[in-house]
Amino acid sequence: MLNRVDQPPALSISGLSVAYGDKPALSAVNAVFHQGRMSAVIGPNGAGKSTLLKAAMGMVPLITGKVEFFGLPLAAARNRVAYVPQRASVDWDFPASVIDVVMMGLYGELGPFRFAGKKHRDKARECLREVDLEPLADRQIGQLSGGQQQRVFIARALAQKADLLILDEPLAGVDAATERTIVTLLKKLAREGAAIITVHHDLSTVRDYYDDVLIMNVRTVANGTVADTFTEQKLADAYGGRLVGAGLPAPVPGAKVEA
């Protein structure tokens, strides 16, 4: 594959099994995600995509399996990892302004007790500028559109200055402009060396947005570069009859979104 023997993968998962009671959610999943790459996690509904990422972050108990971030256990690498939950998982009517939420990303840096000074506020503003939201810094978060809320979450992840961004469906229910902004930004981060892992739903954009892909359905179906892995056959293995006849868009090399 790629010549990345010099640096450990950003996230490597081996033999990961998770169950809710006696219902398997993940069965011996193997996956590797590299630094400097945009990776998509795809699979049908209920395939365990979000569970995989939560399990990797230690939020779901494992039956068995090993997870390493940059060759280290989670505890040693936590500050290098930023996790972006699904937008719908929080109450957006919460009494907080946009900048308050972005400042939460500085928890790793500030710890529980240290005061946040002007320096930190400036940092948060800078992250907001990256997602084109600086003018809304003092707006109450409930007044934002869905796309803007998603960008606030991304800005909070940026504030973490992480080498690995794990995003759970960042493009779900956002407008086209936001999707463009987010993808452009993530691609830029990947170019600068960060690893991006995204749960993704829209199969028609996988080729345009991502370098690598993990196709899964409770088990790993395939994991590798988009060129090698994102094939009709592998998708049919994961999605079954649901994709038959729907067909996949042909790869159009010229149509990539450029950062």
Partner: protein, 409 residues
Amino acid sequence: MDVEAFLSALTFQAGYNTTIVTIGAILLGWAGGMVGTFLLLRRRSLVSDALSHATLPGVGIAFLVMASLGGTGRFLPGLLLGAALSALAGLATVEWITRRTRLQADAAIGAVLSVFFGFGIVLLTVIQSVQIGQQAGIGSFLLGSTSGMLRSEAITLAVLAGGTALAVFFLRRTLTLVAFDETFARARGISIRRSDLLLMLLVLAVTVTGLRIVGLVLIIALVIIPPVAARFWTERVDHMLLISAGIGAVSGYLGTALSASIDDLPTGPIIVLVATGLFAVSLLFAPVRGVFSGLYRARAFSWKVHRRQGLLALNRGEAIYDKKTIFVLLAEGFMRRDGSITPPGVVAAKLAAEEEALWSLYLRENPDSLHRAHGMLLDPIEERLGAGEINALRLRHYAATRQTVEAMA
């Protein structure tokens, strides 16, 4: 405890009043269990908490009105009517707050229950200090009491409980439909709002009837505990209704009998404790969703996962680090303490690898089956698939493997 009194209460021979109250408590428990099931399925269990606490000002106002009109103030149907009206006001307030403000149901319920109750307490203290009417019995609305109940009161309550149980019985189809599938019910032309309102009126009926017997602090237990307990025994709504109603009825029956036979035992808490006992048994021991059966299934499943993963690793000649996996392989006799594989381990590992290959192929061909038949991938393949299916899989597996070999060569 007086065993004789307990037995005579159980067999309805402890006097006319006790018998009527016991029958009333059984009917009340039955109705509460059924109504509570719908409430739980509609995810509104705690609305009953607001409802019951909101009865208190009504009781106080009704007492004051009746006393000032020259009555005793203690006339039970009047007090219950007051209770029902103020509970309705409380319910409307909860609705209004959740619809018209940003506050969520939890805050609305909490605010209504504490403020209405607080105001009710204010009225009670007024009644106590102005010395009007016969106040005895007002306090018993807090915790319920069946001692010293008048015969007419006992009959009123039994009739109310019976009426409520009957009403739930007739309305059960509509309520089930709404609780089970809101969209479908709406498509059938059922008004969700009206159905929910009916449900609330039934909860109100149970609450008001139960005030005097169980008391307003604990009456909600009769609509919350039985359905939650029933949930552990079944996945089906109709069964849940019956089990829940049964648990409620048994709690009412045993609870009233117990409190009739032990001095100083208020009826309400005893009924609730009997229900709690049945709940605890359900939580721990119910085979369908109980804690122990769940733990057992989760452990058995985890064992199978470790067994399979361990055998696959042995077959690939990989070292095993997972402590639990090592434990399982040692216990099954597939591995020695030094990490070397035993003869049965060699065979089991080969078998596991072959089964895994066949299952993988099966899954690739039937990705949809994964969620329908959870866990079957860890079972022996011949227990899950027919001989013909296995043979066909095996043939395709051979062909695919041969192709791979040729491609590699």
